[in-house]
Symmetry: none
């Protein structure tokens, strides 16, 4: 079964927006053995959308459209698909009742324009939208399937899950694809490639051949493994074995063997060891804490954080001595160490981080250019405080420097916990 | 002149990669008055690429393809386009000499497969690639233009600049396009639409018609305005006027009239008033501070922040009285107010925020479900501390609740500063 996806919306033809829905959809389609053969973006012009959709439908067995199901004049997908498939649109009172109920729950009356969202092409199956007013649609026509999903990701994703579980999974064949993302830090792309290269040939020659792609991004390198077959357990076992082989080659630099992000990995280690952490941030401005607390349940192991942008606040909140700041400058290893140990002391946690650097674009000097970041960790054990500290030189603009620094700080704690056993 | 873009490469049909070249190309095309009417992604299958390219070329005046110009079997773009336009491929010795020179500079001999990159469709203009072996191509055919650019962004971008400067800018004519993004908060999409609807018709009927698109995302609604013409100053003036009309209708709910994000708007207001801010966060976990400090120069007006996840830290760092926490619970208006005023007092800033809520997925109760967030602002003026506080009910998962809460907190400070004049 071959699929195409069309993302609808004039905003997706501007430089300001990129279609990411198709990535989520592709992932789920691949899992049930459906390959994507092409994808497109169309604006809100009905004539153009109809042309693009007609051609995609001529080529594909399955066409998924996202977006353009809202209540406004710009939302043309429903009408264009009905027109293309030559199906009359019919008003469904129970769909509109559902929309009215959503508004009523917020003490509002449904505006008249929302009636458009209750128009349904004849014989289409209505896909319930639990998170918005736009229902989705499933249409079978001459052996082909057309699915209309809403554009907002938080509405699209649950509907996609439901339609795959209830309908598409049954139409698709027995073939399955499994994918796994491994994540590496502390090495360049070339060095990861060199280390892993010998595994590639072996994986491709296996009974269940595994394809690998390497992808570099700031702060981490990813290895994407894919394998196809009919028995999902076999596929998972093959990927488990490949992940183990990769770990044997990369050691602690492999921080994630099954798609986990760094804050998730660090959170799991903290929880398993019953350790609590506090974070003192300067240049990262709260990003480390924000990433740690993106994890559900993080209140178990995250005690507190401070963002000490000014020297005054470093002294007030962490007891960093003024003479230390004067002698070494705010961006220095001794200050990072004093921040980390001051944070552990004031918060009463076992672990603490101290991060101070120059995120840019201004503030750099020849000796300490933009991207210079000092990161320290403190660990209080048996009444004694150990610290580790390192200077980094990150590349890119302000947000990239912040991200790389947050990644390196979390990684420092991760390695330390793993080395301590 | 209407354009379409095709990004070529099977990796762009996986969940791991998204085509971003088209965003850069769109931006530059729009500036010279060329609108994008559609874009697609095709894999390395020549038959499918030919079908997609044929249809795009039938619809558009300008077709730009990126990727698939490399030396391997997977790189099919050159051959497919020559086939589609019925142009014979001819070997260009001077192109291959250039490729040999690139290899020689690295002490290598050009492999035979690179000869493919020296095959040029008859009458095509060769676009020099300063950063790689794949030359680009410019082909004019029956009043239409086809441009082939390499896929790697660092090769594509300089070639794009050169072809716009030397060729496309001259073909494109005198038309220019300007774009503006307006941002709104505190209203639903339907209510923004209703309020702005009467303006749409007037804008479209103007001498320089302005097209508007409305886009909802959590925490904000965007209005994208575009206008075309020949005099860039006139276009800017038309957009200024439209932004003013929108402000007249939406009042303070319009928080950005020229693309600025909320932290930028709040930062500019703080800077203009010479006010400094400190932020006490619980459920947002540092996100408000991280967003504020994403802005270059934010150290001028951001003093410090604390992330007080535990009750202990609320008492330690902000002096929130334990009896208050016991009486009202951590997620309550009195505690948010005590956090904000305690933050202002300990940091010595004029302004402070206090945010406490339930980000989920656990921790909700029937009385205070997930998404319940109390937000308070404190303003110290003439020795007196005023506070504002409000309870919110945000939707969605943990990260969405965090984002909406951060947006509402910044918005509370923004409105207060504007109301105070």
């Amino acid at each position: 079964m071959n699929a195409e996806i069309i993302a609808v919306g004039s905003e997706l033809l501007t430089p300001a927006r990129v279609d990411t829905n198709s990535l989520v959809i592709t992932e789920r389609l691949n899992e049930i053995g459906i390959a994507l053969q092409g994808k497109s973006v169309a604006g809100d012009d009905p004539r153009m959308l109809k042309a693009i959709a007609a051609q995609a439908l001529a080529r594909a067995d399955l066409l998924i459209l996202t977006g353009g199901l809202g209540p406004t004049d710009d939302d043309v997908t429903r009408n264009v698909v009905a027109d293309l498939l030559d199906l009359p649109l019919e008003f469904h009172a129970e769909v509109f009742a559902g929309i009215e109920k959503r508004f009523a729950a917020r003490g509002l009356r449904a505006p008249g324009i929302n009636k458009r969202q209750a128009m349904v092409p004849r014989d289409a199956v209505i896909l319930e939208n639990k998170y918005g007013t736009a229902p989705g649609l499933w249409i079978e026509r001459e052996g082909k399937v057309v699915i209309l999903l809403p554009g907002p990701p938080r509405e699209m994703r649950p509907m996609l899950e439901a339609v795959i579980r209830d309908r598409l999974g049954k139409v698709a064949g027995a073939s399955r694809m499994s994918r796994r993302i491994l994540r590496v830090t502390g090495r360049t792309e070339s060095h990861v490639e060199e280390a892993v290269q010998p595994l590639y040939a072996r994986w491709l020659a296996a009974r269940l051949p595994i394809a690998a792609t390497i992808l570099a991004s700031p702060g981490q390198i990813e290895l994407h493994l894919t394998v196809s077959g009919t028995d999902i357990k076999e596929l998972q076992a093959a990927l488990d074995a490949a992940a183990d082989e990769t770990r044997a080659v990369l050691g602690l630099d492999l921080f994630s063997a099954d798609g986990e992000e760094m804050p998730q990995v660090v959170g799991a280690l903290l929880r398993a060891r019953g350790l609590r952490i506090a974070v003192a941030e300067s240049c990262t401005g709260g990003l480390v804490m924000s990433r740690l607390t993106d994890m559900p349940g993080s209140s178990e192991y995250v005690e507190r954080g401070v963002v000490v942008y000014s020297n005054q606040s470093k002294t007030d909140l962490l007891g960093v001595p003024e003479p230390l700041l004067d002698a070494h400058g705010a961006v220095s290893e001794p200050v990072a160490e004093a921040m980390a140990s001051g944070m552990a002391r004031t918060a009463g946690t076992a672990l603490a981080l101290g991060i101070t650097g120059i995120a840019g674009p201004s503030g750099g000097t020849p000796a300490k250019p933009v991207g210079t970041v000092a990161i320290a960790a403190a660990w209080v054990r048996g009444g004694k405080t150990d610290t580790r500290v390192r200077m980094f030189n990150f590349f890119g603009g302000r947000e990239l420097v912040k991200f790389q620094a947050s990644q390196a700080a979390l990684d420092m704690i991760r390695r330390w916990m793993l080395e301590a056993g």
